[in-house]
């Protein structure tokens, strides 16, 4: 009896907490398909606002996707070899790099952005292109990629696997592609989803780094909150959710697959 009471209490608390977080988000999304928000649902449902968002902001959505993919490409190219070096050849230098790399996570994004503007603002071509935002996102997301890959590699005896490949005649590049990358794949996958999700949602840095011609989705969102009617901003939120939720689910599935693989060993 007491058990059942405790269970009911715990369940209601969980449901309440979930509702506290989910209801505002649902309300906002609902507002995005409501004719007139001030009059409520009774005013009728419509997709007009979504169409309007698409007309006004579709470029920010495409740009966000492009920036996320470019960020992913760069973090893969830098992050995987870096993680490999950290694990296989640990030294005072690699530890220092690891610490430095994590620093931008502790420093407010605005400060990082300011530093970037001071340093690279003079290169006006670079400053004006989306690549400037990509650079900011790489600084912000690289530690997540490196951590995920390094954790995977540290859990297996990658050095001996590589020695095995070397004894069979494989040179360094071949070993990296045939042995290290497949072994690191669960970490690479988890890291990649993390990087894409963080990049698409990143606002702090991006808000400082963007120009009127390089607005991303979250920056556009802030813009629409500030200057558009609520229905459009809400429809925009809906679009953002539709993009980000599948990524979050994929991230959960990848994490689960990785942990299952680790425990089955």
């Amino acid at each position: 009896m007491a058990n059942r009471l405790a269970f009911s209490l715990a369940l209601s608390l969980t449901v309440l907490t979930a509702a506290f977080l989910a209801v505002p988000a649902l309300m906002s999304m609902l507002a995005g398909v409501t004719q007139v928000y001030a009059r409520g649902i009774s005013s009728g449902l419509t997709t007009d606002w979504i169409v309007e968002v698409w007309r006004l902001y579709s470029d920010t959505i495409w740009r966000s996707i492009a920036i996320a993919l470019m960020t992913l490409a760069v973090t893969l190219l830098i992050g995987v070899p870096l993680a490999y070096t950290f694990v296989v050849r640990p030294s005072a230098l690699t530890r220092a790099i690891n610490e430095l790399m994590t620093l931008p996570l502790a420093v407010p994004g605005l400060a990082v952005a300011l530093a970037m503007l001071q340093l690279y603002g003079g290169f006006s071509e670079f400053r004006r292109s989306s690549l400037f935002i990509v650079a900011g996102h790489v600084i912000f997301t690289l530690p997540f990629m490196v951590r995920a890959v390094a954790a995977t590699l540290a859990a297996i005896d990658i050095r001996t696997l590589e020695e095995g490949a070397a004894s069979l005649g494989a040179g360094p590049l071949r070993r990296f592609l045939d042995v290290v990358v497949p072994a690191a794949m669960p970490g690479i996958l988890a890291g990649a989803l993390m990087v894409v999700t963080l990049s698409i949602g990143e606002f702090n840095l991006t808000w400082m780094l963007h120009t009127p011609l390089t607005k991303t989705l979250p920056v556009g969102l802030a813009d629409s909150y500030a200057s558009m009617r609520l229905e459009i901003a809400s429809a925009y939120t809906l679009v953002f959710f539709i993009m980000i939720v599948p990524l979050l689910i994929a991230m959960q599935l990848a994490a689960r697959a990785t942990s299952r693989k680790a425990t089955s060993r």
Binding site: L161, G164, A166, S167, L168, G171
Partner: protein, 348 residues
């Protein structure tokens, strides 16, 4: 099948960056087709030596490593064409058994038809045909060991290097695989260097055994030589069970607390010496007229034989093997009979 190369080590040494000398300058000559086993306790330098032969470690400057007279010292492992089996097997988890075995062939750009034939040959040789398409995480330890061996042999290496390949297996399986491995190595006739800390593995597999201690070679010899004629007390005690008797030598006999042991083969001088005596070389007899005697302290029944601990005969309790039907019991006083040929004077 190829019979491999002649391997020579000239002054090969290894000092690690922290200053520890893992391997003192070592010379070794391994004949074509020979199986040499490096045997020693952990930290004796045997694995370091194997890794230098493989090319996984660089020796200190001055040392030279020769394959058939050709200097390989600075050559990368991937260009040495060595077959290597690791203690952890180092099988690629992202590939099937066949892909693992074929990996070295893929690197060598062997045409697909030849590659398939060679993989089938290796699967048959190691008795793992049924596992060809399995994933590595579906294999047992013994199966992994066979795949690792097949993968190493598939590239037709110039020399086969095995680093404690049976250590990760349980005792019964280890015994069986050792016999299989011995037959396989004989059939291949390839030059092989095998590292182990298990003396029965070394005895069973090696044409010659290199006993190592603290970075240097304590003795090189056939299994019989290192067993019957150990070069030092360390070798005597490391290989099999050994009693080391310490006593005064006088008039061609060793004087011990329990009596005298005749040693007619020793002609040189007198003084304190150490002599090795294997437990199976001692016979128990009646005390009447026995020149060497002791007390049975304890008996342990081992099934195929009994092991008796005798006190009062020597400085240290003496271990003696007794037939399993003997009705010997603790407290008995016994005479000890030893063939003088079984006594081996140990240098200090």
């Amino acid at each position: 099948m190829s019979s491999g190369i002649r391997l020579e080590l000239n002054g090969i040494a290894k000092t690690f960056p922290d200053g520890t000398q893992a391997l003192k300058p070592t010379a070794l000559d391994v004949a074509q087709g020979e199986t040499v086993v490096f045997l020693g306790p952990s930290g004796c330098g045997k694995t370091t030596c194997l890794r230098i032969i493989a090319g996984l470690e660089q020796p200190d400057p001055g040392g030279r490593l020769l394959f058939d007279g050709q200097d390989m010292t600075g050559v990368e492992i991937e260009h040495r064409n060595v077959g290597m089996v690791f203690q952890s097997y180092a099988l690629f988890p992202n590939m099937t058994v066949s892909e693992n075995i074929g990996y070295g062939l893929k690197i060598r750009k062997v045409p697909p038809a030849d590659k398939a034939r060679r993989i089938a040959e290796m699967l048959a040789l190691c008795g793992i045909e049924a596992l060809a398409e399995r994933r590595i995480d579906q294999l047992s330890g013994g199966q992994r060991q066979r795949v690792a061996l097949a993968r190493a042999v598939a590239i037709r290496p110039r020399i086969l290097l095995l680093d404690e390949p049976l250590t990760a297996l349980d005792a019964a399986l280890r015994e069986r695989l050792r016999t299989e491995l011995d037959q396989l190595l004989r059939a291949l006739g390839i030059t092989t260097v095998y590292v182990t800390h298990d003396q029965s593995e070394a005895m069973g597999l090696g044409d010659r055994i290199v006993v190592m201690k603290q970075g240097s070679i304590a003795q090189i010899g056939t299994p019989r030589e290192v067993y019957f004629e150990p070069a030092s007390r360390f070798v005597a005690e490391f290989i099999g069970a050994a009693n080391v008797l310490e006593g005064e030598l006088s008039d061609g006999a060793l004087v011990l607390p329990g009596g005298r042991l005749s040693m007619p083969q020793v002609t040189i001088g007198a003084g304190r010496v150490s002599v090795m005596l294997r437990p199976e070389a001692v016979q128990l007899c009646a005390t009447d007229g026995a020149s060497w005697q002791g007390h049975v302290q304890s008996i342990s029944f081992l099934g195929d034989r009994q092991r008796a601990t005798i006190t009062g005969a020597a400085d240290q309790p003496l271990i003696v093997e007794v037939p399993n039907l003997s009705s010997l019991k603790a407290g008995d006083r016994v005479g000890l009979l030893v063939d003088p040929a079984a006594l081996r004077l140990l240098p200090d």
